[in-house]
């Protein structure tokens, strides 16, 4: 893509999210969301492949529907309550409508059906932007409106997401779809705790972004989009393969890796609030996600797939791809657990 066009699109992406972050008026927040949607559309469709165009169309329709619902809810709230402030959404109908629209925007179950198909049709780099950057603005709005939303809606969205994210990911061999279901499950954890401790949502979001970025960058480095190509990753970059295994287990929430931190803090918060049953259910549904992460780890590091002699020599060719971001995010995705007290103090 032309570098000027690419820079305009990336700057627009940054602008849209920043606009939503700093807004207290619903119209400005909605405008930021729309700028984000429109800026990523050309990035998704740049390959001109039918599957990419299909993913772009589906993404646009879903995001436009969600944005229209947000605008409708905000206008209805302004009509009923007389003000446009994001924090002051006091009517139950409008707050439920807003939460549903934001759930559609980020892909929470049961409004998640678009996410695996859309992620499957785009490149790994664009998928990374979709899974991480595009979640920031809607989650900022969710955190601000969670207090005014009925807890039953949030809990239902959260538990559905963790369950569907786990169960749906079991049937996949395409890595982008697996990461889509992983995204759905992680968002469920974030939403559940947003009503009682929003700072936990932010911790969970930041750790999710770090781990997902590491995972996407690794898959991009070894150019792998299916489980069967993961099995030959050790021939291209043996050390990276071992680290990918650790990042995937971190996504699964295993101690002593970074991914354990949000799960531990969220379960602790739920127990403090007296929601032991909810904590048990969400911990059990996390096991489903762990199953498919372990499956990927098994394919990556614990097996040798049949291949010809030539295929065992790609590691001899030096890899010219830049690895600064990859190494940074990998370290953060695996080694941040010991500084949990620091992070907790900083966020609370």
């Amino acid at each position: 893509m032309n570098p000027y066009v690419l820079s305009i699109l990336l700057i627009s992406l940054g602008l849209g999210t920043t606009l939503t972050f700093m807004s207290s008026h619903w119209l400005l927040a909605w405008m930021g969301l729309e700028i984000n949607t429109l800026a990523i559309i050309p990035l998704m469709a740049q390959k001109h492949h039918p599957r990419a165009v299909e993913a772009t169309t589906k993404y646009f329709l879903i995001q436009a529907t969600a944005a229209a619902m947000i605008l409708f809810a905000a206008s209805t709230n302004a009509w009923i309550c007389g003000q446009w402030d994001i924090n002051q959404m006091s009517h139950p109908l409008t707050s439920a409508m807003t939460m549903t629209a934001l759930a559609l925007k980020i892909g929470l179950a049961p409004l998640h059906l678009w996410l695996p198909e859309v992620l499957q049709g785009i490149t790994l780099t664009t998928g990374l932007i979709l899974s991480t950057w595009q979640k920031l603005a809607p989650l900022a709005l969710i955190i601000q409106t969670a207090n005014n939303t009925h807890p039953f809606l949030l809990t239902t969205l959260a538990l559905c997401s963790t369950l569907v994210g786990g169960w749906g990911g079991l049937n996949q061999t395409q890595l982008r779809k697996i990461l889509a279901y992983s995204s759905i499950a992680h968002l469920g954890w974030m939403i559940l705790v947003s009503q009682m401790a929003p700072q936990m949502t932010i911790i969970a979001l930041i750790t999710y972004i770090v781990m997902t970025t590491a995972a996407f960058l690794m898959l991009n480095n070894i150019n792998s989009t299916k489980i069967i190509t993961l099995a030959s990753a050790w021939t291209k970059a043996p050390a990276l393969t071992a680290l990918t295994c650790l990042v995937l287990l971190s996504l699964g929430g295993l101690p002593p890796l970074t991914g354990f931190m949000p799960k531990w803090l969220i379960i602790q918060e739920l127990a403090n609030q007296g929601l032991a049953a909810t904590a048990t259910i969400i911990a059990l549904t996390a096991l489903l996600s762990l199953y498919f992460y372990l499956r990927l780890t098994h394919a990556l590091t614990l097996t040798l797939s049949p291949q010809i002699t030539n295929a065992t020599t790609p590691w001899r060719t030096p890899n010219k791809q830049p690895t600064l971001a990859l190494s940074l995010f990998t370290i953060m995705a695996t080694c941040l657990l010991p500084i949990t007290p620091t992070i907790f103090t900083l966020m609370t």
């Binding site: 169960w167 069967i228 295929a311």
Partner: protein
């Protein structure tokens, strides 16, 4: 309005599953000739099929047991789709997905295997070719045979004719949801055929989103040797080119293997006379030494200067 229409469609579909197969009776009302072109006769009637002259109340054959069996079958398929995930992706253990280098998709080992295929020829447009499908010797192969005739039908608008084809049916899951073949782990189509020396075309249809793409097909040639010996044909998926309604497209891209719907064989070589093609099996395999993404250039039509 939309809900009424949807309800009508669903109830019509339920009634359709309960119907008994059509049996033509000789006694039809004599004054049906006057009303033969009335509004209630809608839908496409395939040439060669007998006309259905019954009244609409005579066509209804309601049967509860067929509906109950249909519901039981679909609920069983739905339960299977949920439970199979515990075993692994698509019901097979992960080790299968990782180590599988070959997979046989269709092999013709009994009369039921022919039900997955649809045979068609230019008789649909009024031509004179004929194509038939039957099991070959010892019920171990399928034989597509017939006669090709490239005389155009005399309807004033058709200029070319003379084609015969067989195409696999799209697989369906629970409640007739479309299922696809995910062949992304493989890169070569492997057939074992015994032809008669004619050039055939293999057509692969994939799942599309836009209605503009409904006639998009990825094709490649199958040159048969003829003779009594079997021919192993291995065609990489990177060789398939895109055509729409038979016209090769300028904007080419590689065949996406993750949602393949149908595969078909077409004969249209303008050589009148009998033909036959015997197929032993159709499978896919993974060749790690074949690293080509796409065999043709995907150049830009208006390149930047």
């Amino acid at each position: 309005m939309a809900m009424t229409t949807t309800g009508f469609v669903v109830s019509a579909r339920l009634l359709w599953t309960c119907r008994k197969p059509f049996v033509r009776t000789s006694a039809s009302p004599s004054w049906s000739v006057i009303l033969s072109r009335s509004a209630h006769q809608t839908g496409y009637r395939r040439p060669g099929q007998p006309k259905d002259n019954r009244w609409f109340w005579q066509r209804i054959n309601f049967d509860f047991s067929k509906g109950v069996n249909g519901v039981r079958k679909h609920l069983g398929l739905l339960k299977e789709e949920f439970v199979q995930r515990w075993e692994g992706p698509e019901g097979k253990p992960l080790i299968n997905h990782m180590l599988e280098q070959t997979r046989v998709l269709w092999e013709f080992r009994g009369p039921d295997s022919l039900n997955d295929w649809v045979v068609s020829s230019d008789q649909e447009i009024g031509g004179r070719s004929a194509a038939y499908l039957k099991l070959g010797r010892n019920n171990t192969t399928c034989l597509l045979y017939g006669t090709l005739c490239s005389v155009a039908p005399r309807d004033g608008e058709t200029r070319y004719s003379g084609y015969c084809s067989m195409r696999s049916k799209q697989p369906f899951g629970a409640f007739d949801s479309k299922k696809h073949y995910d062949l992304s782990d493989f890169n070569i189509l492997h057939l074992r055929v015994r032809g008669d020396g004619r050039p055939w075309m293999i057509n692969i249809g994939i799942e599309n989103y836009f209605s503009h793409q409904k006639d998009d097909i990825y094709s490649y040639f199958l040159y048969t040797r003829g003779g009594p010996y079997w021919q192993d044909v291995k065609i990489p998926f990177s060789k398939f080119f895109l055509s729409s309604r038979g016209r090769i497209q300028d904007d080419q891209h590689y065949l996406l293997q993750d949602k393949i719907n149908t595969i078909g064989f077409t004969l249209g070589d303008k050589a009148d006379g009998p033909f036959q093609l015997e197929i032993d099996f159709i499978g896919v395999c993974n060749d790690t030494s074949h690293t080509e993404d796409f065999a043709y250039e995907t150049y830009k039509r208006n390149p930047e200067v």
